[in-house]
């Protein structure tokens, strides 16, 4: 693994054209096949016993991707009490059980923020413990604004910030797909905000990638203008998305709005995720984004988990939102 700061220690394995499906190290024949993709120069790097190849002149070549699955869960709000959900711990636990029952074990699970409702140390510890029961290779998180209610994310990062930079952002490669986790929940004026440091990180982070590398961006608040009067957008997202314009496939997965919605703008597809805690109103419905109290027995149909499959053949993500059983 390259020792760059952008690689989160302990994150899923680095992008590795040298790693064959099933995890076997590349042999000479497949190396030649890889290097023959487009006549690109291939540098072989051995780091820590792991062989990786890097396409040196790779702007027109495809990275070797593999099919894999990961899961997104979001907005668990541990600590919330109210009629919208009398037991957020229970529904979070059910969501975890549902992930563990998936037929395809996810390579990793990403929680896209609002782990807690009040950012207390006890709530972070409880979430960490519960996430530990996920049957997956790795658990990743990004913070929500509820994870920094009375600080600027220090308590969150103490528990979940290992290997991240700045307010908690990081990136990693997995089976040919590049993942970036952004933090847009600190120092907010009206909308989500990334800030200059993070934009610089993103620019440098993607500079080395070929245009054909599939990109997945995680954030808590949407990176598209979903409903700005309620803060459902990010004021400097346009600058981030402009850095991703050259890539063939960009998928942005977020939480925050407690409902499933998808939107495509050019090369970028946005998917907002269901919560595990409680629903919020549709954009602009009612005076404020207050927790919605559903009739008895209806709550589970408003909560869910997201199963994402990367499909090499289509070079795209298949996103399946499952409501809580």
């Amino acid at each position: 693994m390259s020792p760059t700061a952008s690689q989160r220690p302990g994150s899923p394995e680095p992008a590795s054209p040298a790693t064959a499906p099933g995890g076997a190290t590349i042999d000479r024949r497949s190396f030649l096949r890889h290097s023959a993709w487009a006549g690109a120069a291939v540098a072989v790097v051995v780091s820590g016993g792991v062989v990786t190849t890097k396409l040196v002149s790779s702007s027109h070549t495809a990275p070797a991707t593999q099919d894999f699955a990961f899961v997104q869960i979001s907005d668990s709000h541990i600590g919330f009490t109210g009629p919208a959900n009398a037991n957020v711990t229970s529904t979070f636990s059910e969501a975890i059980d549902q992930v563990n029952a998936l037929p395809d074990r996810p390579d990793f699970v990403i929680h896209t923020g609002d782990l807690t409702h009040f950012s207390s140390v006890a709530q972070f510890d409880q979430v960490k413990q519960m996430l530990g029961s996920l049957k997956t290779g790795q658990v990743l998180t990004v913070p929500g604004e509820h994870d920094s209610t009375d600080d600027t994310g220090q308590k969150y990062r103490q528990v979940f910030g290992a290997g991240s930079q700045g307010d908690g952002w990081y990136s990693f490669d997995h089976k040919g797909v590049h993942f970036v986790s952004l933090v847009n929940t600190i120092n907010l004026q009206s909308l989500g905000h990334l800030g200059g440091d993070q934009l610089s990180f993103l620019k440098a982070d993607v500079a080395k990638l070929s245009d054909s590398t599939p990109i997945v961006v995680f954030s808590h608040i949407p990176l598209f203008a979903m409903y700005e009067p309620w803060g459902w957008g990010t004021d400097d997202a346009v600058q981030a998305l402009s850095m991703l314009r050259r890539f063939g496939s960009v998928t942005c997965l977020n939480g925050h709005v407690h409902q499933v919605m998808s939107k495509t703008e050019g090369n970028v597809t946005f998917h907002t995720a269901a919560p595990t805690a409680y629903p919020l109103p549709r954009p602009g419905v009612g005076p404020a984004p207050k927790p919605v109290v559903l009739p008895a027995g209806r709550l589970h149909s408003a909560l869910g988990v997201r199963d994402v499959h990367y499909l090499r053949r289509s070079r795209g993500l298949a996103v399946t939102d499952e409501v809580l059983a």
Binding site: S190, M226, S249, T264, R298, G304, H309, L317
Partner: protein, 157 residues
């Protein structure tokens, strides 16, 4: 690869191509089925028929309303209710302490860089915050959890 890694995939997932610039919304709450696919083949967003495309919702993409509404009210008490500071604009004399009280069920905060304010999370029984304004000026603040909630304190000499 000679075999499918995901033999269940084809029947578990309905791939729905999302039309470019289109908007797909899936209301989970109103859905009777247990699974709600909203899949998109990112490589070919324009391909296929947008099976679940809905008309854009009223109010989508409207600009944020950041300017506090209403005239300045001479008071030292601000209520936080229904995701709003009320009154949104107040005026006090220098040396006055202003107190905010959150009566919403949801937690809120009072945060201002210009006034160096950062309340604790206001909720439940710990729902008030006070700050003394010593220097004349206009101080904008908001809620860090719901940053679209804005208020202003005008401090006069």
């Amino acid at each position: 690869m000679s075999r499918s890694l995901y033999p269940l995939w084809s029947r578990r997932v309905a791939v729905v191509a999302v039309a470019a610039a289109g908007l797909t919304a899936v209301a989970l709450a109103g859905c009777g089925s247990t699974k709600t696919p909203s899949a998109a083949a990112a490589s070919s967003p324009a391909a296929g028929t947008p099976a679940t495309t809905m008309a854009p919702m009223p109010g989508m993409d409207t600009p944020a309303t950041t300017a506090p509404a209403g005239p300045a009210v001479a008071t030292t008490k601000v209520d936080i209710n229904n995701f709003a500071f009320s009154p949104a604009v107040i005026t006090v004399k220098a040396g006055t302490t202003v107190t905010w009280t959150n009566t919403d069920e949801e937690p809120h905060t009072v945060v201002s860089a210009s006034a160096s304010m950062r309340s604790a999370t206001l909720a439940g029984t710990s729902n008030t915050y006070s700050h003394a304004f010593m220097t004349p000026g206009t101080y904008a603040y908001n809620c860090s959890i719901h940053p679209f909630m804005h208020g202003t304190v005008v401090v006069t000499a």
